[in-house]
Subunit: 365 residues, 2 copies
């Protein structure tokens, strides 16, 4: 298992440069590093001295780079889909469609990249994966996917089972399944091996994201107000997808005192403007990127005190909406909804109070 790190911030603040420096430092420390780029940028080739390919390649000892490309990843995933259908379907159907034909729809990029990160992580070949993504809301949607997809599955499964529609459709499914599938069919669609495997992958993703020693983000900003505003927004929005933000890198810094206050309690590390042809001063100036576990966690549940604490920096009470329906509570902020599955001790209890205190929303049951 690898440590996965990413950088969030407004375009132009130097995220890619910081990501390269971070990867170089981990490699120099003897860690096996994969530096993964989301979008082909000519600038990457200039900075690295080589244009990364779509397969991971070694640029230096312990230092691997890869350029994610949605069209190539889609082609590879399509082969997996065909293998699955060959395993489960009596008469394969997708085999008539070739991976080389498939266009990329919105969202596919991020789903494919998340899957690629998962596979590189599981390969055991890397100690650290530095992911240079879009660094904005799109990156947050990517990391939020396992939790939100789990919710959709759970919610719609229950609604389907309880509905008249489900009761009407279910009798048709058994004969349809025996005509189509070449595996034995139990009465529950979601208990099929393929569905279980998908659920396991989502669960592993959720667990990785919940552990700041596995997945963490760092904010990158300059002293310009617009970049600070974006970093502040992304800090709060990251909590809403359960991504721990470990610290702030203040690039091209002159005076870091004012910025330090904005991001308290996170550490703000100033990085002076550097010449790009000498990486060492930049590498030396970077903070320790393995300390994210000391930063506030997006969520903490205290069963004994019947309290759920959500860290929501950068928001005020008016920007946060809390609703409760059935066993779940929903928090809306930063253009994301988070459905919180309560532990059995709190599940079904009504919310008795909610207060905002030092950037934490504390909900009592």
């Amino acid at each position: 298992m690898a440590r996965i790190l990413t950088f969030l911030g407004k375009g132009g603040v130097g995220r890619t440069t910081i990501a390269i420096a971070a990867a170089k430092r981990f490699a120099a420390q003897g860690k096996r590093v994969l530096l993964a780029f989301q979008e082909p940028e000519a600038a990457v080739g200039i900075l690295l001295g080589e244009v990364p390919g779509v397969e991971a390649q070694a640029l230096a000892p312990n230092f691997f780079v890869v350029q994610f490309q949605a069209s190539a990843l889609l082609e590879r995933s399509w082969e997996e889909v065909k293998k699955l259908e060959a395993q489960y379907l009596r008469t394969p159907f997708f085999k008539e469609v070739f991976g080389q034909e498939l266009g990329v729809l919105p969202g596919m990029d991020n789903a494919l990249v998340l899957n690629a990160l998962r596979e590189y992580d599981a390969s055991g070949q890397y100690d650290v994966i530095v992911y240079d993504g879009a660094g904005d809301q799109a990156t947050l949607r990517l990391f939020g996917m396992p939790e939100i997809l789990s919710w959709y599955t759970r919610r719609f499964r229950k609604v389907f089972a309880d509905s008249d529609l489900g009761k009407t459709v279910t009798p048709f499914l058994q004969p349809l399944a025996s005509a189509v599938l070449n595996v034995s069919w139990t009465d529950d669609l979601f208990n099929q091996p393929a569905a279980k495997q998908a659920t396991n992958i989502l669960e592993q993703g959720r667990q990785a994201l919940a552990d700041p020693n596995r997945v963490a983000a760092y904010l990158v900003t300059t002293e310009e107000p617009a970049t600070i505003a974006t970093a502040t927004y992304l800090w709060g929005a990251a909590q809403q997808v359960g991504l721990t933000v470990g610290g702030v890198i203040l690039n091209r810094a002159h005076d870091s005192a004012a910025v330090a206050q904005t991001f308290a309690p996170l550490a703000v590390t100033p990085i002076p403007t550097q010449a790009v042809d000498d990486w060492q001063p930049l590498i030396d100036a970077l903070p320790d990127l393995e300390q994210a576990s000391q930063a506030p966690r997006p969520i903490a549940i205290n069963v004994a005190e019947r309290k759920v604490s959500l860290f929501l920096p950068g928001f005020d009470k008016k920007q946060v909406k809390l609703t409760q329906s059935g066993p779940e509570i929903t928090i809306e902020a930063g253009d994301q909804r988070r459905n919180i599955l309560l532990p059995p001790e709190l599940s079904g209890r009504p919310v008795t109070g909610a207060k905002f205190q030092d950037s934490f929303l504390i909900i009592s049951f």
Copy 2:
């Protein structure tokens, strides 16, 4: 019908500032303008003097602004889904799930924003919609969606109809449909009224995108090599989704001659560095943004000469992959695949030659 304009370029080049100036100019010319922002950015509030809301609001005569928010758009679209199911399904099912619960998955943002743009366009209330999106590959995926989704529908519909799976499943569909739907069922799933409506919407989207007087993009760059490299890449990638790029805005320009060469035959308009508190010099320096129809089109089909010309600036021959399977040809470049549906005169004919000439890929049949 409105003219929809968007700006592409690396983060930090000043896209949002240019978008605001462009909208202000159209409004001053007496056109009804909607300026639509994708992500909530505190900087927008600073620049506009007001934070835009999730509903379009007038800031000045003819000048409307809106802040897209995926969670709010999703809630609204969910109501539409429920209306559709109430119309078609005998026993509604989605009504048990509330829009306020739904989290945002990757891709939903862009699908929802495209739909919102479509609705604002159809409302007849605006002459121009200036869309300030992510300005990167994500924006291109958004505009490419109607064409690519049409392809998926067309391709899988045919594969399904021709497949053993389709033949096995079809007999089960009729009784299932009569149990579940409250509309009459013909033998083809894709001839249902709801499916036809969806197909029409996709077709309208494709037609709008194919007309540079309806939808066009402008590149924004500075003289910094990394921003020029990104703009060049996005220029080529835009062609791959069928989006016409009308020109280049060179922000904070000192010497535009070198840059002009990179983007020929597009016009490069230099914009000097401006004080943000006075918009007029910036507004005056902008190019005419209604001339995109004079720029090279992404695709031109000449039936008489049996030639298809694709404009692919910024790519060399090695970066472009051409494949032919059945009646369609597929072009891979700029991390997007484009499936070209040939007119009947060329459909089914083998490709006899392909050459790269002045940034055009010319395919002969």
